[in-house]
């Protein structure tokens, strides 16, 4: 296990990599080719179990780390013992560094936690994946305490986009998305509070599922804003998303908010012949995205036979209310640190938290009241809709040195607008899946599919259809 101290030395702020990779790089196989990157395909072919895939993943991780800054911890012994049998036997995976992993310090992207004691048990989602035979190879980089959409981290470095290292991977689950996009692991866990799984999925060109709030236990994950936090999945095939969700979903008796149960496995929705009522978004969840993004949304909507367009009301208020609640809940969680030692917090994140400490309670109450109202409005509008198709992000991955973006003629800081299309959906706990659209000669872009609470199966059915039709691919 790489200690946090080693990593700190190795990564630095300027993304130069020190002795850590110099000593390890000799072990790398130059002719390394990514393993078959689909756990579902492996399973179908009967090629499961063994340590080969995990060993290959570790090697790839070591190789890519200097270029992309994906991992904060690597479990170098992961490929030593044969994994248990199970639906994911031998499949390597990575988790955002806010999930507890037994024996490893949970950093949550923060230097303040580097001296914490190692976790004494796996987070539920991690334990369930390991129980199904999957092999954890490492913990991935993130915005500090998950408060951001860029995975720029002053302690552990900025995660680069595997499609173009001069561009952002997105965040806050940027390390997990990049690990999947770079072909290091076929699947990874992230968390999504306002879009932190879907935004990096869009920029990195992978699938990113935010399940319904209450679907996957958050036990053992470092919370950010508990009203919206959800464990999410990043993967390179729809089948892998479904397979992973089947393993990690369902109450664990620890997380009191995780109550959803499902009657049939999510994999049963793949290729299911059922007509889907799809509709694309309009209004504030359409405008503001760049033309090529809207092209991609149109293409996906057309492939799903979408008819008409649906405009949700008061989307601006939904974003504002979500932001107020996020700031207040995040500030509450870290207020001791913010008061005791604010300098240790990444300056990008520190300002957001300090602003959160100052939100009046009455604003929070107003936001919650609005949420009740809005949820009811939206659920009413979605009653006859299986899949709402909308952008995931307004643009493709921005350059690292270009932190501004133009939306509707107004130039805005990138970090402030990346949640534009994702935040309103998680605000009321809806399930949403970003599917990757590959653009010829260009960067990938995600298109978001959303549905009613508890209907992840419809999203997977739609995505499987799109995948089979070749409309989406990592």
């Amino acid at each position: 296990v790489t200690t946090p101290t080693e990593l700190l030395e190795g990564f630095g702020n300027e993304l130069r990599v020190g002795p850590w990779t110099a000593t390890e790089s000799a072990l790398l196989d130059d002719d390394f080719t990514p393993p078959t990157l689909c756990a579902a395909a492996n399973q179908a072919a009967g090629e499961t179990g063994g340590t080969g895939a995990a060993a290959a993943a570790l090697a790839a991780a070591e190789e890519e780390q200097p270029r992309l800054t994906i991992f904060t911890t690597l479990l170098r012994d992961a490929a030593r013992d044969d994994p248990p049998a199970g639906s994911l036997s031998g499949v390597p995976f990575a988790v955002k560094d806010l999930f507890d992993v037994e024996g490893v310090v949970t950093l949550a992207g923060s230097k303040a936690k580097a001296a914490d004691a190692p976790a004494t048990a796996d987070a539920t989602a991690v334990a369930r994946l390991r129980g199904a035979g999957a092999v954890l190879v490492g913990a991935t980089n993130m915005d500090e305490f998950a408060y951001g959409f860029t995975t720029e981290n002053s302690h552990y470095g900025t995660t680069r986009n595997p499609h173009d290292p001069e561009r952002l991977a997105g965040g806050s689950s940027g390390g997990s998305a990049a690990a999947v996009a770079a072909g290091i692991v076929p699947l990874a866990l992230g968390t999504d509070t306002n879009g932190s799984v879907r935004v990096p999925a869009s920029f990195c060109g992978v699938y990113g599922l935010r399940p319904t709030s209450g679907r996957v236990p958050l036990s053992g994950a470092t919370l950010f804003a508990a009203s919206f936090d959800a464990v999410g999945i990043l993967a390179r095939s729809v089948g892998d998303v479904a397979l992973t969700l089947d393993v990690i979903a369902g109450p664990d008796g620890i997380d009191p908010c995780c109550r959803l149960t499902s009657e049939s496995p999510f994999t049963s929705f793949l290729g299911a012949e059922r007509p889907l009522r799809a509709v694309r978004s309009a209004g504030e969840l359409w405008a503001g995205a760049q033309p090529h993004v809207l092209d991609a949304v149109e293409r996906v909507a057309a492939a799903l036979g979408a008819r008409g367009a649906l405009e949700l009301p008061e989307v601006g208020r939904a974003r504002a209310a979500a932001s107020v609640m996020t700031a207040a809940e995040g500030a509450e969680r870290h207020q001791q640190l913010l008061r005791r030692n604010p300098e240790i917090v990444d300056p990008r994140v520190r300002g957001r938290f300090l602003a959160g400490l100052d939100v009046p309670a009455t604003d929070y109450l107003a936001a919650q009241r609005f949420r009740r109202w809005w949820r009811r409005q939206v659920l009413g509008l979605l009653a006859e809709v299986d899949v709402l198709v909308l952008p995931t992000t307004a643009c493709t991955a921005p350059r690292l040195d270009e932190p501004l973006i133009e939306i509707d003629g107004i130039t805005l800081p990138v970090g402030a607008v990346l949640g534009r299309f994702t935040q309103p959906l998680s605000f009321i706990g809806l399930p949403a899946l970003s599917v990757p659209v590959r653009r010829s000669g260009g960067l990938p872009i995600g298109v978001q599919l959303a549905s009613r609470p508890g209907e992840e199966g419809l999203l997977l059915a739609a995505a499987a259809l799109l995948e089979a039709a070749g409309v989406v691919s990592p």
Binding site: Q335, T362, W373
Partner: protein, 559 residues
């Protein structure tokens, strides 16, 4: 109506009412109701707490400067009017429903119905006294910290606070909006339940309203488990109150309840969270701007509580909400599966003078056994339990949507009969004949799915019953027509959602179908596939499964 106005004149309690409609207007309403047919509340007189809108009467919330003329009647009251009730006026309250004493009002401290030196309790003080003194049949109140229960105890009447959100709070001046409930006072449980049932339902645009779930239980089991505090946990009580509580517990046990002492400390902690924490920010959100703008026109105790919440930060509210949530989980875990919790409604009954001497502390103390209910999302039914101690009452608490379980257990205390015929909740009638009968091995399935025992019942003589070779042993019923016999069983009521889950458990060769009862009605009942009766003994001659089982025992004993 005339009798109600006569009692108002005789009682000479002007502080009960903030506005009273002219008798002639109420009589005109009553005549209109009399002309209609089949209205369930025809002849019922209603008093409405003055923080709830009734078109034509000002809403003051106990503060003259706050008064406004509502254009519409609150949906909760509108539903009572639609059912034939006549509203005669608006009643006094602790200002902005902030208090449990009934003294914080410029319209006068409300005196107890039976002893004018004592407080009426609040905040729904006027509505409770109006019902106790016969000025009204139904008193509509609100309940955030206990305002619908404390006055019930002090007046010796019933106070029903249903599951939060089931009655719309539209048209109600908020006190602590996330936790506010509309509640009902009545002289009997049956009347309170009927009013609440009529007031329940959707209201357009109410974000806090909750639908009644299809699988909500319809009644308590015959021997419900009722949690009570461990010895000593109630703390200091007035003379005779501890004995009165023991007496109530004893009555429950006599009536067949299983009394389970549990650690209630998490509930008592919960009571402190409503006022002692950042949750008071809800009160500032509700009326803070008004209180700021009207210094000197607000009761000093109320203003102190509201204004103290002005600078509460959102993160503090988040922290305390989380504390509430963890305390709630600890409290529910302590219940250990009991159907309900029994506590005294109030810990003491102060005089008006005592409250005026120390308004904040006295008030806080009154909520000790009451204020957790809405924080913990529980329903609560307060009933008198004087047991020799005047103005002593107890409250039955149950988890959300278990209101009917709470009511059944409260009936065991009050001795009120089970619901009158026709007053049963909506559900599906199911005739059970064998293993699902009371006391038989599968009876727990009916209870687990919210079932309610209705009565013993027999079929018309159209069926034959066979002893099937299943585990556990079951009878199988076949319809044979003229050659049939009469079979005895039990009629149960299942919630629609519960019936679905129950059906999923149905093993082969059992089936469900329509069965004719002796009284000519047709209900759903158990049958079996005809093939399953091949080689099975025809036990129709016994007339019922229990008689057949008894014959086996006799035979076994003889052998």
């Amino acid at each position: 109506v005339r009798a109600a106005y006569e009692r108002i004149r005789v009682a000479d309690r002007p502080e009960v009412w903030i506005s009273l409609r002219p008798e002639a207007d109420a009589l005109a309403d009553a005549e209109r109701v009399d002309a209609a047919v089949g209205l369930p509340l025809a002849g019922t007189i209603v008093a409405v707490k003055d923080n709830i809108d009734v078109a034509g009467l000002a809403t003051t919330a106990g503060c003259p400067a706050f008064a406004y003329e509502p254009e519409e009647t609150a949906p909760a009251v509108k539903r009572l009017l639609d059912a034939g009730a006549v509203v005669i006026g608006k009643t006094n309250l602790d200002q902005f429903a902030t208090g449990l004493v009934g003294t914080r009002s410029p319209y006068g401290a409300v005196r107890n119905a039976w002893d004018p030196e004592l407080v009426a309790g609040g905040s729904s003080s006027g509505s409770a006294v109006a019902v106790a003194l016969g000025m009204a049949d139904i008193g509509v109140g609100t309940d955030t910290a206990g305002s619908g229960r404390i006055p019930a105890a002090f007046q010796g009447i019933v106070g029903l606070k249903p599951t939060r959100g089931t009655i719309s709070t539209l048209g109600v001046v908020p006190a602590c909006r996330s936790y506010d409930c509309v509640s009902v006072f009545a002289r009997t449980i049956a009347e309170a339940e009927q009013a609440v049932a009529l007031m329940t339902g959707r209201a357009d645009g109410d974000p806090f309203q909750r639908d009644w779930p299809a699988d909500a239980p319809l009644g308590a089991p015959a021997a419900p488990a009722v949690a009570v505090p461990l010895p000593g946990q109630l703390g200091e009580l007035p003379d005779g109150w501890a004995e009165a509580f023991e007496h109530a517990v004893g009555r429950l046990a006599e009536a067949g309840a299983r009394v389970v002492p549990v650690d209630v400390s998490a509930f008592l902690q919960g009571a402190d969270l409503l006022y002692g924490t950042a949750l008071v920010a809800e009160r500032y959100a509700a009326v803070g701007a008004f209180v700021e703008a009207h210094p000197g026109e607000v009761d000093p105790s109320v203003a102190a509580i509201v204004l103290a919440a002005r600078d509460v930060r959102a993160h503090e509210l988040v922290r305390d909400r989380e504390r509430v949530e963890w305390t709630r989980l600890a409290a529910l875990a302590a219940l250990a599966g009991a159907d309900a919790l029994l506590l005294p409604t109030a810990p003491e009954h102060p005089t008006i003078a005592a409250v005026e001497a120390d308004p904040l502390a006295r008030n806080l103390r009154l909520g000790r056994f009451a204020s957790f209910a809405n924080l913990f999302d529980m329903c609560a039914l307060a009933v008198p339990a004087s047991g020799g101690a005047a103005s002593f009452g107890v409250t039955v608490f149950a988890p959300p949507f278990h209101d009917r379980i709470a009511a059944d257990i409260a009936r065991m205390l009050s001795g009120e009969p089970a619901r009158p015929a026709g007053g049963e909740p909506a559900g599906v009638s199911l005739l059970v004949l064998g293993a699902h009968l009371s006391g038989q091995p599968l009876n727990h399935q009916l209870l687990a799915h919210g079932g309610r025992f209705l009565r013993a019942a027999s079929t018309r003589p159209l069926y034959r019953m066979f002893a099937l070779d299943t585990v556990p042993a079951k009878p199988g019923l076949l319809h044979v027509g003229a050659a049939g016999a009469r079979v005895e069983g039990e009629l149960w009521l299942l919630p629609p959602g519960g019936l679905g889950a129950f059906l999923a458990l149905l093993p082969a060769p059992m089936t469900l179908g329509a069965v004719q009862l002796e009284d000519g009605t047709q209900v759903t009942g158990f049958f079996c596939q005809a093939s399953a009766t091949a080689g099975a003994a025809d036990i129709s001659a016994f007339g019922g499964w229990r008689a057949y089982l008894a014959s086996l025992q006799t035979a076994g004993a003889a052998r």
